[in-house]
Amino acid sequence: MPIERPSRRELLLGGTAAALALVRPGQALAQQKELVANTYGGGWEAGHRLGIAQPLEKRLGIKVTLISILAAELVARTKAASGGRPPVDVALVDDGPFLLAVKEGVFQQLSMDKIPNASRIYTKYRPKEPFGVPIGASQIGIAYNSKKLKVRPESWADLWKPEYKGRVGLSTPASTLGTVTLLSFARLRGGDEGNVDPGFEAVKSLLPSVSSIQAVPATLRTLLERGEVDIAPMWHHDTTILNQKGTGVEFVRPKEGGIAGLAWLAITKGATTELALEYLNQGLDPESQRIMAGAPSYIGPVIEGVQVAAELRGIVPATPADLEQLRTLDWPKINQHRADWIARWNREIKV
C-alpha cells in the first residue's frame, strides 16, 4: 500500500468516539461559562438581546446564547430532556405553559432573595409560586387596519358588526392568543374559565364574518400585514410592530379591558443556577425593562416607574393605571380544560 491508511479498528474507534462526542455537547458548554436562554424570536429576541444578554455579557464576561423556541415547544422539549441536559438554562414561557411546566417539575424552585430586583415587581404580577419571575407584560386586544376599515372597533362585541364581514381573523386555542380569544368571547356572553360554552356559541355566530382561522399566530400577523384579514384579536406588541411598518394596522384596547398575558423567566433543572439567577435579576433591572419596553420589542414592563414613548401609551401596558385596565385569566383552571377546548374546536369550528 503506497499510502498509510488507518486500520479498520482505528476507523471504528474514531467513528464511535465522534458519535459519542455528538451526544455530549453539554459538557463542552459548561466549561465556556455560557448561558443559554430562549426567546420567541423577532422583537422578543432583539429586546432580550439588548436588554438582558448584552448588559450581562459585559458585566460578567460570559457568553449568552439566545435561541428561538416558542413557549409550548420549549416546555415539551425540557420535559423530554428531564434527567439530562435541558435545552436552555433560562426558559421564557407564557402563563399557560409556565404553569404546565411547574406541574411537570422541570423548573427549579427559586429563592427570591437571590433575585434582589424581584422586589420591584408590581404586586398584580407577583408569582404565586416561586418557580419563576415575570419578565414582560403583554395585552391582547383588537388589531384593525385603519386604512381599510372606516369604523374603529371599541369593544369585543364590535367584531360582529356587519361592516367587518369577511374581514375577521381568529386563532385556534392551540395558541395562547386563541385560548384568550375564546375566553374573552365567553366572558362577553356571561361565561368564564369554568363555562366556555358561550364562547363557542359566540365563535360560531361570528363565523360568517371570519375570513380565516389560524393555528399559528405569526401567520395571522402576516395576513393582517398583507390585508388578507383586516381585523383580529392580537397581541399588542405584534400589532405595534405592524403599525411601525406603516401598514395602518392599529391596536385597540377594547372597552371591556385588554387581557393580560405575562411572559415568565424560569430556571430549568440541570441549568447553571448562579448564572441563570443573574439573568433573571438583570431582566428585572429598571434599565433593562426600559429597553425592552421600546422598539423593536415593545414588551410591557413588570416593574413600576418605567416610562414608555408617548405614542405607545395605553398600548404597551406600563403604568398602574394601565394595569387597572388589564384583566387577568385563571390559567390553572384553563390548563385543566384546554385539551378539551382544543379537541372541541377541531370538531366544531370550520370556516
Binding site: 479498520r8 380565516s212 393555528a215 401567520t219 402576516t222 398583507r226 388578507e228 385539551a339 377541531n346 370538531r347
Partner: protein
C-alpha cells in the same frame, strides 16, 4: 487483500469452510456499519420504543393498557382525520406522479443544460425551510396574491378564487415540495432503461404511445414505487405546511400529534396517535408495493 474475497471465490459449496468465511465476512460488514447502527439505535429505535411505551400507558395508572387505542379508534372525528390524512397524501402522491413522470421522461431525453435546469428548478424549494416556503405560498395563493391577481387581471374570474387555507392550497403547496422526491427516483429508474427497447417496440409495429405505455411505463415501476413511497410518507407526516397553508380550517394527523405532544403535554395520546399513523402509513405503503409488483410481473406479462 486476496484473503478478503475467500467467501466469494469458494463457489463449489464445500459446506463449513464456506459458511465460516461467510460468517467472518458478515462480521466484518457489521463492524463497518457499527457507527451507523449505534446512531440509528440511539436516535431511532430507542425513541420508537419510547413511543410504544407511552402509547400503552395512562398517567396515574400502573400497568399496560390499550385504552388509548380504544378511545381514539372509536372516535368518529379521529377516524375522519386519519382518513383525511391518508386521502390527502395519496392525492398529493398522484399529483406529483402525474407531474413528475413526463418531466422525468423529458429529462432522460434532453441535453445537459436542460437537465440541470429541470433539476435546479425542482430542487430549489428544498433549499428553503418549510416556514419560509409557507409564507411564500400565503403571498402567492391569497385573495390578493399573485394567482388571483393574474386570474382577475386576465378577466378569467370576477371574484378572487379561495385557494389559501383550503385543501386545494395544501395540495398545491405539498405537491411542489414533494415533486423532487418523486422526480429523482423516476429519473434514476428511467436512466437505467435502454432507449433502444422503446425503439425496438416501435420497429416491431407498436405505436409510439403503445411503446411508451407497454415498455417504458412498466419498466420505470421501481422508480414510481420509490417515489410514491417517499412522497406519501413525507406528506402524511408533514406538519408545518398543512398548519400554515391550510390555516386552522381542517385538522390532519400531525396537527393532532402536535396539539397533544406540545400544547397539552398529553404524551400518551400523542404517542398513540403517532403509532396509529405509523401503522396506517406502513399498511398503505405495503399495499402500494404489492399492487406495483403485480403490475410489473403479474397478469400483463402472462
Amino acid at each position: 487483500m486476496e484473503s478478503r474475497d475467500q467467501g466469494l471465490t469458494l463457489s463449489d459449496g464445500r459446506g463449513t469452510l464456506r459458511r465460516q468465511a461467510g460468517w467472518s465476512r458478515h462480521l466484518r460488514l457489521w463492524q463497518l456499519v457499527l457507527p451507523a447502527s449505534l446512531f440509528l439505535g440511539m436516535y431511532f429505535v430507542v425513541p420508537l420504543g419510547m413511543l410504544f411505551w407511552w402509547s400503552v400507558r395512562v398517567p396515574g395508572v400502573s400497568g399496560l393498557t390499550l385504552v388509548n387505542f380504544q378511545r381514539l379508534l372509536t372516535d368518529a372525528f379521529f377516524l375522519e382525520t386519519l382518513w383525511l390524512s391518508v386521502r390527502l397524501s395519496l392525492e398529493v402522491t398522484v399529483v406529483t406522479l402525474v407531474l413528475g413522470f413526463p418531466l422525468a421522461y423529458l429529462y432522460t431525453r434532453l441535453g445537459p443544460l436542460w437537465r440541470v435546469s429541470i433539476l435546479f428548478i425542482t430542487l430549489l424549494p428544498l433549499l428553503t425551510s418549510a416556514v419560509v416556503r409557507s409564507f411564500a405560498w400565503i403571498v402567492i395563493l391569497g385573495k390578493l396574491g399573485l394567482v388571483n391577481a393574474a386570474l382577475m387581471g386576465s378577466g378569467l374570474v370576477e371574484q378572487p378564487v379561495k385557494l389559501l387555507f383550503t385543501l386545494d392550497g395544501v395540495r398545491i403547496a405539498m405537491a411542489q415540495v414533494q415533486l423532487p422526491f418523486m422526480l429523482l427516483p423516476l429519473i434514476n429508474a428511467m436512466e437505467q432503461l435502454d432507449p433502444s427497447l422503446e425503439r425496438a417496440a416501435v420497429s416491431l409495429g407498436a405505436s409510439q404511445a403503445r411503446a411508451f405505455f407497454r415498455v417504458t411505463v412498466p419498466l420505470s415501476a421501481p422508480g414510481v414505487v420509490a417515489g410514491a413511497i417517499l412522497s406519501f410518507a413525507l406528506t402524511i407526516s408533514a406538519f408545518i405546511t398543512p398548519a400554515m397553508v391550510g390555516g386552522g380550517s381542517f385538522t390532519v394527523m400531525p396537527t393532532l400529534i402536535y396539539q397533544s405532544a406540545i400544547v397539552t403535554l398529553d404524551w400518551s395520546t400523542a404517542s398513540t396517535t403517532a403509532i396509529i399513523l405509523l401503522v396506517v402509513a406502513l399498511l398503505v405503503v405495503w399495499g402500494g408495493m404489492a399492487v406495483a409488483r403485480r403490475y410489473r410481473y403479474g397478469p400483463s406479462r402472462a
